[in-house]
């Protein structure tokens, strides 16, 4: 088989990213990321306490040419060497997605190369294969970020079955909102992670969301065949808005009754206790899903997978239960185009290319 060189482009939220990936043989073991460039907009959105979609769209347009050129340069690849263009089609902010999709389609026309549409979460899942090409399958993967919190069952490589998702806020969104109500800076995840290291995670008992009766009643340990209808919708779902409200209520009560502003110790305790509740909620369901589906490994991807406590607890629980826990590198945890290129290579091999009327889809399902 000859080499396949692919350019991946990602603009679903507030990072403009491009990467060059090469496949020398079938499968992720032969994937090589030649370059991965990310232009982050975090400084632009920090003063707003979150991503402002219109500002994000405007910035993508400013950055995209330079980011793509840099990716080609770093990867020592010329336009003529590219065999395909992959781009995030959705989900995400529609204005941001449109910049990447329109740009990628133009490249495909100018180069007369196939266009490969990629689901953003498929990209996050494939980031695990970039780091762990021989990830044991079947697997369960938790994709957790500022915009998404979803559980997927992977019976085989390239097949993603949604088995649970958040019913309200994404976990990363909860980090941002709690950081904001504590007067911390955006993005909230890294700040809370840092402060939590100095706090007592058992200082405050914040509630872990209980979604259904089944959450409260331990079910017999049975392995359910892939795709089984017995896994009812919602059984593996998450909820974080109640936790955020509980933190807000705690802070209000404390400020109404206690002396002065929150001390550094109190702030650290709140951060640590909140973080523990999130980590528990995520991992309880992820490990439960792994058990139900007879998974040979558990993957955790997305921006929140960079959280140090989540990594630590997930790894420890995995060792305890004899279940390998797979995490991406920190560079591949947050939004990037290397993962889009990887997912693009897999889809290209499967012949899943798009026509020129491909449109961005903010609510694309996987």
């Amino acid at each position: 088989m000859s080499e396949t060189t692919l350019l991946g482009i990602e603009t679903s939220c507030d990072e403009t990213a491009a990467a060059v990936a090469v496949e020398t043989a079938a499968g992720p073991a032969s994937w090589e990321i030649r370059s991965s460039v990310i232009a982050s907009q975090v400084e632009i959105h920090r003063e707003w306490g979150g991503v402002v979609p219109e500002l994000a769209s405007r910035q993508h347009l400013r950055d995209i040419c330079g980011v793509v050129e840099r990716a080609l340069c770093d990867g020592r690849v010329g336009w003529a060497q590219l065999d395909a263009i992959a781009v995030t089609q959705g989900p995400g902010l529609v204005g941001s997605l449109l910049v990447g999709v329109a740009f990628a389609k133009a490249l495909a026309v100018a180069l007369d190369r196939p266009l490969v549409p990629v689901h953003h979460l498929a990209g996050h899942i494939e980031s695990l294969f970039l780091c762990h090409p021989h990830l044991p399958l079947p697997a369960v993967v938790l994709v957790v970020s500022g915009g998404h919190t979803s559980l997927y069952h992977l019976p085989q490589a390239g097949t993603y079955r949604l088995v649970g998702r958040t019913r309200d806020d994404a976990a990363g969104e909860a980090f941002d909102k709690v950081a904001k109500l504590l007067g911390l800076t955006y993005p909230g995840g890294p700040v809370i992670d840092r402060l939590a290291r100095r706090g007592d995670e058992h200082a405050i008992r914040f509630p872990v969301a209980r979604m259904t009766h089944a959450d409260r009643v331990e079910e017999p340990a049975t392995v359910v065949p892939p795709g089984s209808p017995k896994i009812g919708e919602g059984r593996m779902d998450f909820s974080f808005s109640g936790l955020k409200t509980a933190v807000a209520r705690y802070v209000r009560r404390r400020q109404a009754t206690g002396p002065g502003a929150l001390s550094e110790t109190e702030l650290a305790d709140i951060c640590a206790s909140f973080q523990r509740a999130v980590v528990d909620a995520l991992l309880d369901r992820a490990f439960e899903a792994a058990r139900r589906f007879g998974a040979c490994s558990l993957g955790i991807a997305g921006g929140v997978s960079a959280n140090s406590r989540l990594r630590e607890v997930a790894t420890a629980r995995g060792v305890e239960r004899g279940l390998p826990v797979m995490l991406p590198t920190l560079h591949l945890s947050t939004d990037n185009a290397a993962m889009i290129a990887a997912a693009g290579l897999r889809r290209l091999r499967a012949g899943m290319t798009a026509s020129l009327d491909l449109n961005a889809d903010a609510a694309l399902t996987l």
Binding site: S57, R58, L61, W79, L98, A106, L107, V109, A110
Partner: protein
């Protein structure tokens, strides 16, 4: 010199091809599709009709705005991609300048042209994008060898504002000058002009596809000198992001 032009500032938009400053072909886009769906397929269709590929294009022109934010970004990103691959330069042309070019060409044919030209673009939300253009005060102003639009310059910078407020601001000027108001924003607000325009003034809501005008403009002075690398393309939004406007309103409301 082959120029490919694209306008996505309004629904449907248009695309055109010009060779050595003369229009070769133009088409309006399918308004039933979003710009994201119809591009770059319609551009490729235009090139196919002339047995051309994107490599044959020497320069691109793109509507920089003002207009639909999303439309502008799809158009600019599309042209950025095409131009970047083949290392071509792009002329970003103001939609307001283009409308002035259309009006000025009409004025050249009419003989008795306007004193002032006001492009008038529907900005949605009950507003229009507008500006005021006046003749360049030099010998060049009467030189009909120069492109029509190049003999006009901006007198009042572009704004996004409610039409009534703008007409009130311009009331004296409208009464004492021949003013041509041109653009897709005219049709929706025609009754507002009644009794406000003086003799010789007129409103023009039907314009040719703007990409055709842009393709020719990008081939000649002064616009051809404004060609830039695709990295440097910046839409002309005129209206600031809603988040900034809302923050400003909040700050003004604070005691």
């Amino acid at each position: 010199m082959l120029v490919l032009a694209l306008d996505t500032s309004s629904a449907g938009g248009s695309l055109a091809l010009a060779r050595d400053g003369r229009l070769v072909d133009e088409a309006t886009g399918d308004p039933s599709l979003t710009h994201g769906q119809r591009l770059p397929g319609e551009l490729q269709g235009l090139l196919d009709r002339h047995d051309l590929t994107t490599e044959a294009i020497d320069r691109y022109a793109v509507a920089a705005g003002p207009g639909s934010f999303t439309g502008l970004r799809v158009g600019v990103a599309t042209i950025q991609g095409l131009a970047l691959v083949h290392n071509r330069r792009v002329v970003a042309i103001s939609v307001l300048d283009t409308l002035v070019e259309v009006a000025a060409r009409l004025a050249d044919r009419d003989g008795l042209g306007p004193d002032l030209i006001a492009p008038w673009v529907d900005a949605k939300r009950g507003e229009v994008f507008s500006a005021l253009y006046e003749p360049v005060p030099s010998a060049d102003a009467a030189n009909t060898q120069r492109p029509a639009g190049a003999r006009w310059r901006v007198a009042v910078e572009p704004v996004a504002v409610a039409p009534v407020a703008l007409l009130d601001t311009w009331a004296d000027m409208l009464a004492t000058h021949r003013v041509w108001v041109i653009g897709d924003g005219v049709a929706g607000y025609r009754p507002l002009f009644a009794g406000r325009l003086g003799p010789g003034s007129r409103t023009i809501h039907e314009t040719p596809p703007l990409a055709g005008v842009m393709a020719v403009m990008a081939s000649v002075e002064p616009w051809c000198r404004q060609a830039v690398a695709p990295h440097a393309l910046r839409p002309i939004y005129v209206r600031r992001p809603d988040a900034e406007l809302a923050r400003e309103r909040r700050r003004r409301a604070e005691p």
